[in-house]
Symmetry: C2
Subunit: 230 residues, 2 copies
Amino acid sequence: MSSPSPVKVIGASDSPYSHRAEAALRLKGVPYELLLEDLGNKSDLLLKHNPVHNKVPVLLHGEAAICESLVIVEYVDEAFPGGPPILPGGPLARAAARFWARFIDDKCSKPFWLALWLEGEAREGFEKEFKENMALLEAELGGKKFFGGDTVGLVDIAACVFAHWLGVFEEAAGVRLVADDEFPRLRRWAADYAADEKVGACLPDKQQLLKNFTAKKAMFVASAKAMLPK
Amino acid sequence: MSSPSPVKVIGASDSPYSHRAEAALRLKGVPYELLLEDLGNKSDLLLKHNPVHNKVPVLLHGEAAICESLVIVEYVDEAFPGGPPILPGGPLARAAARFWARFIDDKCSKPFWLALWLEGEAREGFEKEFKENMALLEAELGGKKFFGGDTVGLVDIAACVFAHWLGVFEEAAGVRLVADDEFPRLRRWAADYAADEKVGACLPDKQQLLKNFTAKKAMFVASAKAMLPK
C-alpha cells in the first residue's frame, strides 16, 4: 500500500477563511502541514497554486491544489470519506447547508466588514443590514447545538468568523455591533464552536489577533472605503 | 409505489439564473412545471418560498423549496441520481467544477453587468476586468467540448449567460464587449451549448429577450450605477 498523499494548507494565522480549511481537515482527522503565508509579500507557492484569486487558503493534496475555502471544505468531506461527515446526508439537507454557507459569504461578510470600519450614516446602514442577516442565522440555528445538528458541519465552519473573530474585530474597530443580550442562540453556539475539541484547537489566540488587527486598522478602514457603493 | 413528488420551478423566462434550474432538470429528464413570475410584482408563492432573497429561481419538490440557482443544480444532481451526472465523479474534478461555477458568479457577473450599462472610464475598467476573466474561462475550457468534458455539466450551466444572453445584452446596451475573433473556444462552446438537445430546448427566444431588455434599459442602467464603487 502506498503512503497517502501529503496534505498541506497554504494559510494565514489570522484568517477565518484559512480556519475553514484547517477545521475541515481536523474534523476528518487528516494530518496536515500549515504553510504560513505573509499576505503582504505573497509567496511564489501561493501565486502558482491560486493564480486566479491569489488568496489563502489553498489546500495542497499530493499534486493537486484546491482553492476557495468553501470548495475546500466540500473537497475534504468527499476526499476523506472515512471521517465524520461535514455535509449532511440527504439532498435537501445538503442544499440547505450550501444555501446558508453561501448566505454567510454573499450577504453577511460585506455588511459586517463595512459596519466595522466605516463611520457615520453609511456605517449605520451596513450595521442594520448585518444585524438583519444575523437574525436570519439566529432563526436558522433555532434550538440546535450546531447548524447541522449535534456536531460541527459546513454552516458552522462557514460562520466561524462570527464564533471567534467577531468580538476581536469589534474591539479593534472600537465599535459594538452585537450587544450582550442580542442573538443568545448564536452566542451559545459560538461558545460551543470554540469549545469543540477538533475545530477549537485551530482557532487563533484572541490577544494576538487583537494586536494584529489593531496594527492593521488603517488598512482595514481603507479596504472598507474602497468597497463603499456610491 | 407512491407517485413521485411534483417538481415545479418558480422562474422568469428572461433569466439565465432560472435557466440554470431548468437546464439541470432537463439534463436529468425530470418533468417539471414552470411557474412564471412577474418580477415587477412578485407573487406570494415566491416570497413564501424564498424569504431570504426574494429571487427566482426557486425549485419546489413536493413540500420542499430550494433556493439559489447553483444550489438548485447540485440538489437536482443529488436528488435525481438516475439521470446523467451534472457534477463529475471524483472529489478533485468536483472541486474544480464548483470553483469555476463560483468564479462565474463572483468574478464575471458584476464586471459584465457594469461593462454593459455604464459609460465612460468606469465602464472601460469593468470591460477590461470582464475580458480578463473571460480569458481565464477560455483557458479553462481549453480543447474540451464542454467545461466538464463531452457533456453539459455544472460549469456549462453556470456560464449559460455567456452562451446565450451575452450577444442580446450587447445589442440591447449598444456596446460590443467581445469581437468576432475573440475567445474562439467560448464562441464554439456557446454554439454547442445552444445546440444541445436538452439544455438548448429551454433557452428563451433571442428576439423576445432583445425586446424585453431594450424596454428595461433605463432600469438596467440605474441598477449598474447603484453597484458602482466610489
